[in-house]
Structure formats: structure tokens, C-alpha cells
Symmetry: C2
Subunit: 323 residues, 2 copies
């Protein structure tokens, strides 16, 4: 029987620490070949494209997540989890919480692996859902002292800062320019819809970790090659996806392609991460295929444990019977 999982259930059960730990496992599994994660495929429809990211955890499950580019503000994604032994669908998630928490967690893993251990300030450009989950996940891996945020509309950035204060309990300020948001920060997040650079390399101080979540293609990127030149280490969550963009991803063409490394390799210890405190590290987030299914599998197993033999519910039942 298929379990249908809603956004409310995901929000109630998938905290940032769990999401980051699970996505870390997914990245290592992909690097070691246990998670098969080909580039996304897409089908052209009238109003936009349907995008599908498929993955297989060898011997355990296969599945996919789908989303689209129609641009509806309420658009929901579908994540499907098939049992590898039978092909049956164990669970379906409908909504946007798994996808957005997944994207945040990818950034959280990157910060945990690459930012300086004492990193405590975050500068964010962008005030949408993607920007939010980045900060949500980073707060689970570093003890943050302050978040600064810039986005084009004052109301949007003020609201974002208020949400950081209220939900994460971290001091946060909205500032009137991108460079002001990121200058002197330990961690910088670009999560915009901008097709042109929103900061320059001169805005980064030595030792910064930078994550880019928005456009990062040739001719359409929220940063310029000056950032790639400045970075001592270029990392992505999926080499396959990084190489599959059209137009190509900036960091996947010469001279940068030869320097791009899989985050999973850093996590597995096969590739060095940050080696000095003043290096600039840069994470190009592309959306590892199968990682949403990885999260759904984890949620589904926890549900089974919570209601299965030996779970708290059973003890309650026994207590009820003994009365």
C-alpha cells in the first residue's frame, strides 16, 4: 500500500539536522556508486517544461522527483519511492517541502565540509524559499552570530530577516545592497533568479565559503568568472548534472572544469577540502538526482519504525491492555 506524505508531515518530521545528515549520506553514496544519479530529463509542454530527476539506491529503491517550470507560486512537486525488490510504490510525497529542504541540506553539507569551523556570519543575496532553506540548514552545522540579507525589494528582505530572528533565533539585518550583505562574511549564499552577477570577487574576504543556488550557466549566471578565478576550491553535488546543462554551467567549461570536484569525494576523504583558513571555497549547487527520494526513503522508514513492533505506540497499547 502506497503512503501519501504531505508537506505538513515533512515539515513536522524533517528538521535541518536530520536533512543535512541524510543528504550527506546521499552524497557519499553517489560518490561511491551506490546511488545512481543521472542528469535530470525534461519534457517540453505548452506552459513550461516538466523536469524529472531519477535515482536508484542499488538493491534498495529507485524513484524520482518531478517539478516544472510553469512558474506557479503554489506548484507542487511529486517524489516517488519504488521498492527495488518488487517495483511497487512504497511512498509518494506531494508538495514542495522535501525538494526545498533537500536543496537547503545540500548547501548545509557543503558549508559543514568546506567553511571554516568557526564561521559564524552569513551573507545572503535573495530572500525567497531557496535562500531560506540555505540559512535553515547552515544554522544546523555552524553556530551563527548574524545573518545579513539583501534582495531587490525592501519588504522582502525585511521579512526574511524577521523570519531568521523568529524561527532560527539568530540576529539578522536587511541591508540595502548586495555587496553590503556579503562583505566580510564567513559564508555567502547566492540564491537569486538573476541572470547577471549580483556580487564581485572583490566583495569576498579570504576564508569565505560561497554557495550558489541560482543560475550559473554561460550567458546566464548570478556570478561572473571572477568568482571562479578567486575560488581555491570548486565543488558541486553532481558532476553528471554539472556537465549536462545547456548552455553549459560556467564551472563545467575550461579552464574551470578541470578544477571542479564532487562534494561526495570531499566527504569521503578522497579529495582534499579546505586546507588553509584563508582559502575561498565555492559550492555550485545543481541538485543531486535521487536525493529527494533518499529523504523520502528515510521519512518512510522512520514512519514504519514509529508504528511498528517495539515502537512507543505498542507500549501504550500494552499499557492499555494491562488495565
Amino acid at each position: 500500500m502506497t503512503v501519501l506524505i504531505t508537506d505538513a508531515e515533512v515539515a513536522a518530521r524533517l528538521d535541518a539536522g536530520t536533512a543535512v545528515a541524510t543528504i550527506r549520506e546521499a552524497l557519499v553514496a553517489a560518490y561511491e556508486g551506490r546511488l545512481v544519479a543521472p542528469p535530470r530529463v525534461s519534457a517540453p509542454l505548452g506552459g513550461g517544461r516538466l523536469m524529472v530527476a531519477a535515482g536508484e539506491s542499488t538493491g534498495e529503491w529507485y524513484g524520482f522527483s518531478s517539478y516544472d517550470t510553469f512558474g506557479h507560486s503554489e506548484a507542487e512537486q511529486v517524489v516517488a519511492l519504488h521498492d527495488a525488490g518488487t517495483g511497487r510504490v512504497r511512498a509518494i510525497a506531494v508538495g514542495e517541502e522535501i525538494g526545498s529542504r533537500r536543496s537547503g541540506a545540500l548547501g548545509g553539507v557543503a558549508v559543514d565540509a568546506l567553511a571554516r569551523p568557526e564561521a559564524s556570519t552569513v551573507g545572503v543575496i535573495g530572500a525567497g524559499g531557496q535562500a531560506w532553506t540555505q540559512v535553515w540548514a547552515i544554522a544546523a552545522v555552524r553556530r551563527l552570530r548574524e545573518v545579513t540579507v539583501y534582495s531587490r525589494t525592501p519588504a522582502g528582505r525585511e521579512k526574511f530577516a524577521a523570519r531568521v530572528r523568529a524561527e532560527l533565533g539568530i540576529a539578522a539585518r536587511a541591508v540595502p545592497s548586495g555587496s553590503e550583505a556579503v562583505r566580510g562574511r564567513d559564508v555567502v549564499v547566492l540564491a537569486t533568479t538573476s541572470p547577471t552577477p549580483v556580487i564581485s570577487a572583490a566583495d569576498l574576504r579570504p576564508g569565505t565559503h560561497l554557495s550558489t543556488v541560482g543560475y550559473k550557466q554561460v550567458g546566464r549566471a548570478e556570478f561572473g568568472t571572477d568568482l571562479l578565478d578567486r575560488a581555491d576550491l570548486l565543488v558541486t553535488d553532481s558532476m553528471a548534472q554539472a556537465g549536462a546543462y545547456d548552455p553549459p554551467m560556467l564551472a563545467a567549461v575550461p579552464p574551470y572544469a578541470g578544477r571542479l570536484r564532487p562534494l561526495g569525494a570531499v566527504l569521503a576523504g578522497a579529495v582534499p577540502g579546505r586546507t588553509t583558513a584563508d582559502q575561498v571555497t565555492m559550492f555550485c549547487s545543481v541538485g543531486l538526482a535521487g536525493s529527494e527520494v533518499f529523504l523520502l526513503d528515510r521519512l518512510t522508514r522512520e514512519s514504519a519504525r514509529a508504528t511498528g513492533p517495539g515502537a512507543p505506540r505498542r507500549e501504550v497499547d500494552q499499557a492499555a491492555r494491562s488495565e
Copy 2:
């Protein structure tokens, strides 16, 4: 709120007549451009490929169906229906009933449009689920007198014949060869997994309608070009899909490509169908994208009507209140 629809609900509510009528609408909508139906896309996984067929009914919905080539006998498909206005997921179907009834209904529409009106005998090669739903749908559009079936294993074909007798109330015989199954029949169905021809043109009598559901590509086809040469009319449910196979579909390469016509055009009256009683017509079934979503949309609307204002349930409630 997303509705999850199971195979049991589809089986209880989607009879052959409804399925054929709905898929007929889908074919006409695709021909007229109201149903956007691009070729399937696929992602390579370790154990097989994930296949996704997406479609959009302009201004009403968009969605997709997914299946895979892992080869599990219990494999389930996912069909997702998004509201075009909001992007939210109105319904998800998990199982195989929508997909298999859809495939049968495509064949049923083709038989209804192309077979002689008095066609009453069907010869089937193949005894699997695909063969079954073809006969199930054909029985809804023609008054059938007898079904003959051949498949490689005697037990399989005997079981198939017994099922036709029991569930459709039609005389049915299992026979020991393919040519015996199809010779002299009004309608012939090829629904095998064979990569080589299972009958020859000499087995067909004038006036036959033939539907092919199995492999139909260059170098891998359940029939040879002799059937294409013999056919007076070549029709497919999706020109886009017909042109997207790799290796190419036999009927989509010269000299046949120029003769291949969309079934929707025949239904819409834009292209002639059968014009004489002794013509041989041939339907190359490829699986119109979006047609499973079309069926799910229909099922979902009927659910809404059945439980909405004015539906029988409400009258019961009023009766209860008046007591």
C-alpha cells in the same frame, strides 16, 4: 488536497466503454493541439530506465505518467495530475490499471475507427496484460463472435481464452500457432515481446484491421515490412512518439513514413479512414503521452461530481435530516 487513486478504484470505475470514449477525446485533442503530447523521456538507472510521458491539456491540467523497464512483475506506474491554474497536484494514481486500460483503449479506438463495422472475430498473438486489455476494449466497440489466441506456452493461451469466456462472455479458443490464430480473422492483435516477426502478410485476409502493440522498430519488431507493404492505411496514435524511437520505428522510416497518419486526424475527419471493405488497416500503437493523465482527470472529475453538491450522497443526507 491530493487524491490518491488505487488500482481497485480504477478497476471499479473505468469500464471499457468509458475508457475508449475518453481516449478518443484525447486523440482528437492531441490532433487539434489542445493536448500537448511530446515524446516520452527517459533516465538511465542501474537496473533499467525510468520512462516519463508528460502531457498538458491547455488551460486545464498538466501531468505525467511514469513507468520503468526494470522488469518487475508487480511494478507500479505513477500518474500525476496538476491543476493548470495553480500547479497543485489534484490527483495521483499508483498501480498499473490506468496505464493498461489506456493502452487497450487506444487499440479500441483504432478498431472502432478502422475495422469493418461487421467485424466479429479477433485473432490475438500474445497472452499477457497488453493482449488482454486490447480484447477488453475491442469488445466494447464491436459485437464479437469469437476470439482465437496463440502464445508460446499452452497454459498461458488456455488461461487467456478462459478469461475471455469468463469475463467478456465471448467464445474463445487457444490455438497452437500464430498463423492459425490470425488467419481469416476480421481484427488481428499483435501484443508480444517478440523481437522478430510472429506472422506474415500472407496470414491476413482482405479487410483485416491489425493493431501492433509490441516492438515495432528497425531490427526489433514483432512483424516484418511485408505487413507494412500489405496495409492500405498506416495509422499511429502519436506522430511525435512514432518519430522519436531509437532505433527508429519501422513505419516511421521511408518508404512508410510518408504514409503514416495520426489516428486523431482520422477521428476528426481530416484524413480518410477505411474507404473499402477489403482494405487492410494497421494501427501502430506507441502510447500517446498525456493520455493516462486524461483518464485520471476524467476519473477525478467523476469523483468530485459523485460527492459534490447535487450528487446522490447529498440527497441521502437531506433525507436523513428530514427524519
